[in-house]
Amino acid sequence: MIRFLLLFSRQGKLRLQKWFTPLTDREKKKVIRDMTMLVLPRPPRSSNFVQWRDLKIVYKRYASLYFCAGLEQHDNELLALEVLHRYVELLDKYFGNVCELDIIFNFEKAYFILDEFLMGGEILETSKLAVGATMEEADTLQETMEEYMSKPAY
C-alpha cells in the first residue's frame, strides 16, 4: 500500500499531504522534512526511486511541484509512477491546465479528487473518466443544496 502522498514545491512548501497510516503530528513533520531533504537536492536526471528507512520512495517532478509517495517493499515502483501520473492527469482534467496555484487556492478540491482515486493506500478507480464524472456530480450536489439553501458554499 501507499503509506503517504506528499506534494511540495521546489522551495519545500507543502501543498498537499495524505497519510494512509496513523502518525503523530511530530512524526508527520519529520517525514515531510526528510522527504524534502531527500528529494529536492537530487540532480535532474536521477532515477525516481530512493530507498528510505524501510520504504521505497517514488517521486516525480511536474513543473514546480514534486509528487512524492512512500511505498511498501512489495509494491511496484514503476506502477507507482503511473499512479502519480494518473493523479496529475485527473487534476489537469478537472482544473483545465492545472498549475500549482490551482492546487493552492483549491486545495480541498485536490483532496476530493484524490479521495476518488485512492483509498486506504490503494487505487480505488482505474478509469480515467469515472473520477471526473463523480467529481462533477458531487460538486453539483453541493451547489444544488446551496442553491436550495440560497447560501454560498464557502
Partner: protein, 805 residues
Amino acid sequence: MLQRFVNTSNAMSPSVPLQEMIRAIRSARTQCEERGVIQRECAAIRAQFRQADNGGRSHNLAKLLYVHMLGYPAHFGQMECVRMIASPRYSEKRVGYLGAMMLLDEKQDASLLITNSIKNDLSHSNQYVQSLALCTLACMGSAEMCRDLAPEIDRLLRASNSYIKKKAALCAVHIVRKVHDLGELFAPAARSLLAEKNHGVLHGAVVLITELCERNPETLERFRKTVPDLVQIMKGLVISGYSPEHDVAGISDPFLQVRILRLLRILGRNNEAASDAMNDLLAQVATNTDSTKTVGNAVLYETVLTVLDIKSESGLRVLAVNILGRFLLNNDRNIRYIAMTSLQRIVGTDHNAVQRHRGTIVDCLKDQDASVKRRALELSLALVSATNIRSMMKELLLFLSSCPLELRAQAASGIFNAAERYAPSQRWHIDTILHVLTTAGGDVRDETVPNLIQLITNTSELHCYTVHKLYRALLSDISQQSLVQVACWCIGEYGDLLLRGECQETEPVQVTEDDVLDALETVLQSHMSAPATRGFALTATMKLSTRITDNVDRIRSIVSIYGSCIDVELQQRAVEYNALFKKYDHMRAAVLERMPVIEKNSPGHTNGESTREAVKEVQPAKVKQAETLLPQQPASQVCDLLDLLGGSEEPLQPNPAVGSTLPVLPVSTSSTAGGDLLDLLGGLEPTPLTPAPTVTVYEKGGVTLTLSSEKQSDSGLTVTLTACNSTDSDISSFTLQAAVPKSVQLHMKAPSGDSLPARGAAKVTQMVALSNPNKVNLKMRIRISYTSQGSAFQDTVQVDSFPEH
C-alpha cells in the same frame, strides 16, 4: 438553473473568503507577518466556531485546514469537524469529513464521536454521502470503529451499486488490516465480487482477496480455486477489448493487471497445480506486453516477479531472467534500477542466470545515479565467485576510488569479505587489503587492523614484500589511520627485512636506519595521528631497538622523551620501555623478538576483542602494579608462556594470563599491559627476578647450568634448567637429558632452543615437570651434550637436592 449548472460543472465556484485569506497569507513578506495574519484569522475562526449555526461554517473550517497544512496548530477545529459531519448539508459534511481525515486520527478521543455519524451516513440515501463515510472510515478508522461497522460494510459489499461496492471493498481492506479476525467475515463477499464487470470493483476485490490471503493461510487455500477466474480476467485485458477509459499507452488497465499478477503470485507460490494453471498466461503477458513505455514495463516487471516466485517451468524462468537482462540495457534509469533490485532477489537461487549479465551489472557501477550505483554494488558483491575474483576485484577497487561517500563503508567491507573468501593467493589478498586501506582507510571497520596483521603474520614468506609496500605507503601518506597502524606494526616487526635492502617480490628500498626511524617519528609527532596510532608507532620504534645495530641510542632518547608525554597511554609505554632499556636490558632481545603466528579465533571473537575484555577485567586489580618489578609469578603462567613459545594451542583465555597479552596488538594499552609485560619478564627469567632460588649445578668448559624449582602441588614440582655459554665461540646442538628414580614421573618440555651464542648473549631454558606421588627422595641425573668449534662434548651431572620454593 441550467446556466448555473454549466458554470458549476467546471467546478470553479470560488470560495471567496477562503481564497481571500490564502491571498493574504501568501502576500505576507516575512514569516513574522504571516504568523500575524494567521493568528488573526484563527481568532476569527475560533469566534465563529463558538457561535451557533451560521451560514459560513464550512468556509471557516476550510480556512482552518489550510492553516493546518502550513504547519500551524489546528486542534481546536476537531469538535467543529464532528459537528459538521453531523450536519444534514452535503457541503458541510464534505468539508467536515475532510477535516476529520486531516485533524483526527485514531489516537484522538474525538474520533470516536464521529462513529455514529459514519454509521448513519453509511446508510444514507445519497451515494455521495455514503462515499464520504466510507472514505473516512478507510482513512482513519480505529480498531473499535472497524469492529463496530464491519457488518455494515459487508452489507454494502453485497447489495449496492458499483460506486459503493468498490469503496466498500477498500474499506474492508482497511478493516482487515486493523482487525485481522474480521477477514473471515468478508471472504464470501470478496469471492462473489470477482464476477463483476466494473473495473473499479474488480480491482477492489482483487486487493481485498490479496489482503485476506496474505493474512490467513487457510483463506489462501480456499482462494486458490479462483486462479482460473483470475487467468480469465487477465486474458480479457491482455488480448481482447480496447477500452478507451482504461487504456494507458496501449495497455488495457495496467493497474488491474498488476494487481492480478500479484495475487496470482501469492496463490501460485509453493503450489504446483496453481502455478501450472497460470503458466501459459504468464508466458503470453511476458512476450506480448509492449515494453517501450514505463507502463508496459511496470506490467512486465510484475510478471517477472511472479514467474520467479512461483513454481514455474524452467523455460519461463529463463524468459523472465532475460527480460531482466533486457531491462539492464534499457536507457531509462528507473528500469535499470528495478532490474537490479529483482536480480538481487534471485541471485541466490538462479545464480548462473544472473552471472550471465555480470558485465552489464559491473558497468552500472559507473552510472551517474546514486541509487543505481548502490544496487549495482550490492549485486556485484553477490556475484563475486572464485572464478571471476580477479576481474571483479579490479572493477570493485576502481569503484571504491570514485564512489560516493555513503557507499564507501559498504564497498570496503564487501571487498574484504570477498577477498577473504576467494583470494587466489596470499599476496593478492594482502595487496587488495592494502589497496583498500590506501583509498578508503577512513571508512573501514575497526577489526580490519587486527585481521590484516594476523593475515600478514601468517604469510611469512611475504613479510619482506609486505613491509616494503607498507613502508612506501607510509612515506606517501600518513593520514589513513588503519593503514598507518598496520604499517607501523610491520616496520616494528620486520624492520630488519627492510634494512637488508633486498626483496624478491618487489623493488627493494635502500634505506638507512635513520630513514626508518624518521618515518616512525613523523607518525609519532604528526597531529593527524590518532592516539592509538601513536601507540603503534612508539612500540614499533621500541621493537626496532633489537633489529637495528647503530641507532639504538636514538631510540633510547625517543623513548625517554615520551616518558613525559601528556598522553597517558604513550607515557605509560615510554616509561616501561625506558625501564626495559635500563634495568632489563638483557631481556630486551627476548621480549622484543618476532611474534609467533597468531591463531585465528572463532568468528566474532577477534584477538583484539578478547584482549580488551581481559585487560578490562584485570584493570582495577592491577592498576597498582604498574611499576612493581617483583611480581609473584605462579609457575602455571610460566608454563603457559613456554607452551606458547613452543607453538602449542593459543592461550587466549580471559584471565590476566601473561601469555594472552603478548601476541596481541598493543592497541589495548593500559597499565596492566605494562605490568603484565614485566610479569612476563619475571616468568621468563627465573634468575635473578623470581623469588624462586636457583642453584648452579654444572660449570665446566664455559658452560653453566643453573636449576630452579617450584612446587606445583603436593607431589608436583617444576624444575627449570638454564644454560649459558661464556666462551668466545658459539655452541650448537645443545641438548639436555634427565633421569629420575623409578617412582618419580618425569616430563621434559621442549627447550627454548639448542644454540648458545658466545659470551652469554642468550640462554637456553628447559622445563621439566616432575611428579613424586610416593614422596621419595628426589634425585635427578642430567646429561649435557653439545657441539663447539666442530667437536662434540658430553657430560653428566647429578643433582641430589632441589631448592624448595
